[in-house]
Each structure stands twice: as structure tokens, then as C-alpha cells.
């Protein structure tokens, strides 16, 4: 096994997931077997190869930039808050933050 329970809990923490103990035990072999499979890529020598971060095609102008002009998006603040689980005074409301030790 490449992965340990500690690794799974660490990664879950980074990803803001609070897994139950049962979930950690269930996921561990699954995640491990997938990661093992991914090792296959090491069979390839990629020292001379450029990474491909985005599939971009040549075009005359660069279409990815536009003038920095604000456009109308939401009709108003109410629309932006419409799906909020809790809101008030024009803001999204959330539980308070406690300082970590």
C-alpha cells in the first residue's frame, strides 16, 4: 500500500471534508489502488517533453483578453443573495470563525 490512513485524513483535511472513520477505512484501498495504477506513467521518459496545461490553438489575435470594462451581471444584490442558505444586511451570513490554537 502506498497510502496510509494518516494520508487519507490529511488529504481530507486539506479538501475540507470531514470523513467518518468508516469512510476512511472504505476509501483507503480504493484510493490506493487508483494511485498505484497512476504509477504507470513512470514507464515513460518525459524529460524532454513540455507539459500541456491547456489545449490552446493558434489564432490571429489573442482572444483571451478583453478591455477591463465592468458589465451588468446580477440584476441586483437580491438576485446575488437569492440562493444563500442564510443572508442579511446585504451579506452572506456564516457561522463565526474561532481562532485555531
Amino acid at each position: 500500500m502506498t497510502l496510509t490512513e494518516k494520508d487519507v485524513r490529511y488529504v481530507a483535511e486539506l479538501a475540507h471534508l470531514e470523513l467518518t472513520d468508516e469512510e476512511v477505512k472504505k476509501f483507503l484501498p480504493q484510493l490506493d489502488s487508483i494511485l498505484q495504477y497512476m504509477q504507470k506513467l513512470n514507464e515513460l521518459d518525459t524529460t524532454q517533453v513540455e507539459p500541456m496545461a491547456q489545449v490552446i490553438y493558434a489564432s490571429k489575435e489573442n482572444p483571451a483578453l478583453r478591455p477591463d470594462q465592468p458589465r451588468k451581471t446580477f440584476a441586483g444584490q437580491d438576485e446575488a443573495l437569492a440562493n444563500a442558505p442564510e443572508s442579511g444586511a446585504g451579506c452572506f451570513k456564516v457561522p463565526h470563525v474561532i481562532e485555531r490554537e
Binding site: 470523513l19 469512510e23 494511485l35 489545449v55 490553438y57 489564432s59 456564516v94 457561522p95
Partner: protein, 488 residues
């Protein structure tokens, strides 16, 4: 056209147009016929998550208004469409088949949806999929699985299983789905219909809930190549709201359909046939033989990095997904866990309760491969392998015009059969992830049925180089006209 003899839910886009123009049926009657069909058949198929009857009838009445005035009809006037629930539809529930977005009402329309409605299409509702488009069977939906209309005990494929099933069961004329690693092409194959993914950037992703941003596409499903061509033409094209959408002008796909395929070179990559189930392989071979009979030259080719595509694809898509799904935290929209009284605890409980198992697996693996100490070994490595895979295609297209492969190594499997082993599920994507990694367009067309036991649809995939959608549609259409869909 003697429409009275034809079931209105089996009509093509062109037949709808003729029938409306000839006043054989009204757009409202056509819409209601579909809504009734959904009520009758969907309890078994379970393709729809929500039906928007009011919006549909209102749009249909608008079209009927144009007909009454004798005005020219827009391209998709009255055509009933189902939209995958990862695509935003203003004012309607858009859940991504996830409990974390169970009550989310989209504040805007995706560009693809806007373009369909401007062209007169009637949105019937939102259809089921794997949660956040992660899966190959629609069994990962946070609500319920969809059933394959060809055999209700089997999966329709995924992640756009609802879209494929709706079209296959005549519950919509065409549907929109999304394809990241095969999520349009594979369900099209498993349900026996046509599904197409254009070049990356061909269709705007504005309003498509992001899964893996360098791999996601929106694309159409239909029962004929022509319907898919018309739909793609309607939704494709530059959108200033999607910075990755291509500047390249949209070709006339419909004009391309009837062009002769004689002399075209069809590449057959040996890697896609190694160890292939003969139930599938035989049909694809017959499909290739048919193309040869039509005058195509069949050329054996090699795509040497094929074996590495699954590993490469899953590292990249999981990494991108872990980033894209960070936004679901219970703050601005969606589900929020009510018990926690502290912010970070709220994030963690919300996400753990709101997301299903497959989504959690992918977020965790994505986080892992991007984390300090592992980034180079996994993510950077995968990006380099991606270059090699893309290069395989560039080189192949120097020698051939299109490439033909099976779409899926297996036909529709039974619900629950592959659910327990995630890696097994991933390995079945082997023929479709390569095109996504390379950014090239691909289409799946029906290629007969299996003969060993139950008769299940087999799909044949055709690939072309960047922006050569017209070529794909040309070959697919010739194949359809020559009887390819019923080849076995």
C-alpha cells in the same frame, strides 16, 4: 406528410419544421405530446430530474405565434430539448445531480441554452447525470440512477446518461450533455443514439458547471447525424463570456453532410482493438468494412501512448475537479450543514454530507496529486504525458482524415454490476479519454447490436483533427445513410 400516422415524439428536427409549417401540428401540441410521453414512460427510465412544463408551453406558444403570423421560423422552432443538469437554466433547478445543490436555482442561462432558445427550441426539463459529471454509468447521481431504455435493468452509461436515455426513449428530440472524458460519446453508444463532442472550445462552456476546465465540453445528442449537426451548429461559436471558446468560425455542418466520402482515409489504431471483446470488435469491423465499401481507404495506424491515457486523464481531471469543487462550501448557495457553529467545521460537514462517494474520492485524489511533494510526480508528469498523447493524434492526422475506433469496450452493463470498483469503472473509458486529452472532436454513432445474448447497442467512434467537425459529420452521415446504424 400524413403526420397523423407518425408518433410526434419520433420526429426529426426537419420533420418538425415541415409539420409546423404545414400546420399539421402546433408547437404546443408537439410539446404537450412530449410532456405526456414523459409522464407515461419516465417513471421507468428515470431520465428527468425536473420538468419545466410552464416554460416549455410558453416557448411553444411563442413559436405558434410566429407560425400564425406567417413569419419565418428560427432553425430549431418547436424542437423539444432536454438539458443535462450540470448546465445552467435561468430560474430552474440546476443540481448537477448532487445533494449539495439540491435547491439551487440558476440565476442565468448557459450560452448553449440561450442559443437553443433563441433558435426556437423548447426546453422540456433537466436530465439526470452522474454527480458533477463524475462517472460512466449515471449511478453516481445523488438522487437515483437512470435506466437504459434498451434494457431497463442496465445502465444508460454516463455521465450524461439522462440526456442519452431521454433521446433514446423519445422523451426529447435532442439533448444537451457534457463530455469531459467520454460523457457524451459513451452513453450515446450504450443507448444506441448519436452523441458528439466538438473540438475543445468549439462550444462555449459559459454556464456549464465546471468539473475539469481543460477537458469539459458541451455537446448534442440526437437520433440522427443530421439532428446532431443542426444542434451543434446552433450552439457552437465564439462566446466572449468564455475565454477558452474558439475564434475559429463555425463551418456549415449541414452542407457537409451529403458530401461524398470516396477517397477519404480512415485510420484504424491497433491499440484500440487489442484484447477487445469480440461482441464489440465484430460490429466495429463491419462498420469499417462498410466505410471501405463506400470508397474510403482503410489505413492501419498506431497511437502509441494510448495505454497511458487513463492514468493521465484521471490525474488531470481529478486535480482540476478538486480545485473547481472547492466553491461548494455552504456559504453562497446550495446545502449547508445546520449543526456546526463554527465556520471551518461548517465547510467540512457541509461538503462531507453534500457530496457523494465518487465526488469525494476524486476531490481527495485531486488534492493529493496537487499537494506539495507529489505535484511533480503526478500532475506535472500527467501534463507531459498529455503532450505525448496529443502529439500521437497530430502525427496520425498527417496520414489520415478520420480515425475509427470502438466507443466503449463493453456494452451496457447491469445496474450495480460495476459500482463497487471505481478503478474498473475508470478503465472502461479507455477509448474516449484520448480525444479529450488531445482536444480533438469525436462522435459516436450506433453500429448495430451485440449478438451473444441480449441485443445491446454498440457504438462506433469517429475522431477528426481540431475544428474538423464537418468531416466527422460527413463520414457519420454517409455511414448512417448506408445502413451502418443497423449493421448487425
Amino acid at each position: 406528410m400524413l403526420l397523423t400516422r407518425m408518433d410526434p415524439t419520433t420526429l426529426t428536427i426537419d420533420q418538425i419544421r415541415s409539420a409546423l409549417t404545414a400546420r399539421e401540428i402546433s408547437a404546443e401540441e408537439l410539446t404537450r405530446a412530449h410532456l405526456v410521453q414523459i409522464e407515461r414512460k419516465d417513471p421507468e427510465v428515470r431520465s428527468y430530474l425536473s420538468v419545466c412544463g410552464e416554460r416549455a408551453v410558453a416557448q411553444a406558444r411563442k413559436i405558434d405565434g410566429l407560425i400564425a403570423q406567417g413569419d419565418p421560423l428560427p432553425r430549431l422552432a418547436g424542437v423539444p430539448v432536454a438539458v443535462k443538469d450540470v448546465i445552467l437554466t435561468r430560474g430552474l433547478q440546476t443540481t448537477c445531480a448532487s445533494r449539495i445543490l439540491e435547491n439551487y436555482l440558476a440565476p442565468y442561462d448557459a450560452t448553449a441554452v440561450e442559443r437553443l432558445e433563441s433558435a426556437g427550441a423548447v426546453i422540456l426539463g433537466k436530465v439526470n447525470c452522474d454527480e458533477f459529471a463524475m462517472g460512466s454509468s449515471t449511478e453516481n447521481s445523488g438522487f437515483f440512477p437512470t435506466h437504459n431504455p434498451c434494457d431497463l435493468t442496465r445502465v444508460p452509461g454516463g455521465s450524461s446518461g439522462g440526456s442519452a436515455a431521454a433521446v433514446a426513449a423519445n422523451l426529447a428530440t435532442v439533448a444537451l450533455g457534457s463530455d469531459t472524458g467520454g460523457s457524451i460519446r459513451q452513453p450515446a453508444a450504450l443507448c444506441g443514439i448519436v452523441g458528439m463532442m466538438g473540438t475543445y472550445g468549439r462550444v462555449s462552456r459559459y454556464g456549464l458547471v465546471a468539473f475539469a476546465s481543460s477537458l469539459d465540453h458541451i455537446g448534442p445528442f440526437g437520433r440522427s447525424v443530421r439532428d446532431v449537426a443542426v444542434t451543434l451548429e446552433t450552439i457552437a461559436g465564439r462566446d466572449p463570456k468564455d475565454s477558452t471558446s474558439a475564434e475559429v468560425p463555425v463551418a456549415d455542418y449541414v452542407a457537409a453532410l451529403d458530401q461524398d466520402v470516396r477517397g477519404l482515409k480512415v485510420g484504424v489504431p491497433n491499440e484500440y482493438f487489442k484484447g477487445l471483446n469480440p461482441e464489440i470488435g465484430d460490429n466495429i469491423q463491419q462498420g469499417i468494412d462498410l466505410l471501405a465499401k463506400l470508397g474510403c481507404e482503410v489505413v492501419p495506424i498506431s497511437l502509441p501512448h494510448t495505454d497511458y491515457a487513463i492514468g493521465c486523464y484521471y490525474i488531470i481531471c481529478m486535480a482540476e475537479a478538486s480545485s473547481n469543487l472547492a466553491r461548494y462550501d455552504g456559504v453562497r448557495y446550495g446545502f449547508r450543514a445546520s449543526e456546526p457553529t463554527e465556520l471551518r467545521a461548517m465547510y467540512k460537514k457541509t461538503r462531507n454530507q453534500g457530496f457523494g462517494a465518487e465526488v469525494k474520492r476524486r476531490i481527495m485524489l485531486g488534492t493529493y496529486v496537487l499537494s506539495s511533494g507529489y505535484y511533480d510526480a503526478y500532475y506535472l508528469k500527467a501534463q507531459k504525458v498529455r503532450t505525448l498523447i496529443a502529439r500521437d493524434f497530430v502525427e496520425a492526422f498527417d496520414d489520415v482524415d478520420v480515425i475509427v475506433t470502438p466507443t466503449s469496450p463493453i456494452p451496457a452493463f447491469k445496474l450495480g454490476e460495476r459500482f463497487e470498483d471505481p478503478l474498473q469503472m475508470y478503465l472502461a473509458d479507455i477509448y474516449t479519454v484520448t480525444a479529450s486529452l488531445a482536444g480533438i472532436p469525436g462522435i459516436s454513432v450506433p453500429c448495430g447490436k451485440t449478438r451473444g445474448g441480449p441485443r445491446l447497442p454498440v457504438g462506433m467512434q469517429i475522431l477528426a483533427k481540431h475544428y474538423d467537425e464537418a468531416r466527422l459529420l460527413q463520414v457519420a452521415h454517409a455511414f448512417e445513410k448506408a445502413g451502418g446504424f443497423e449493421i448487425a
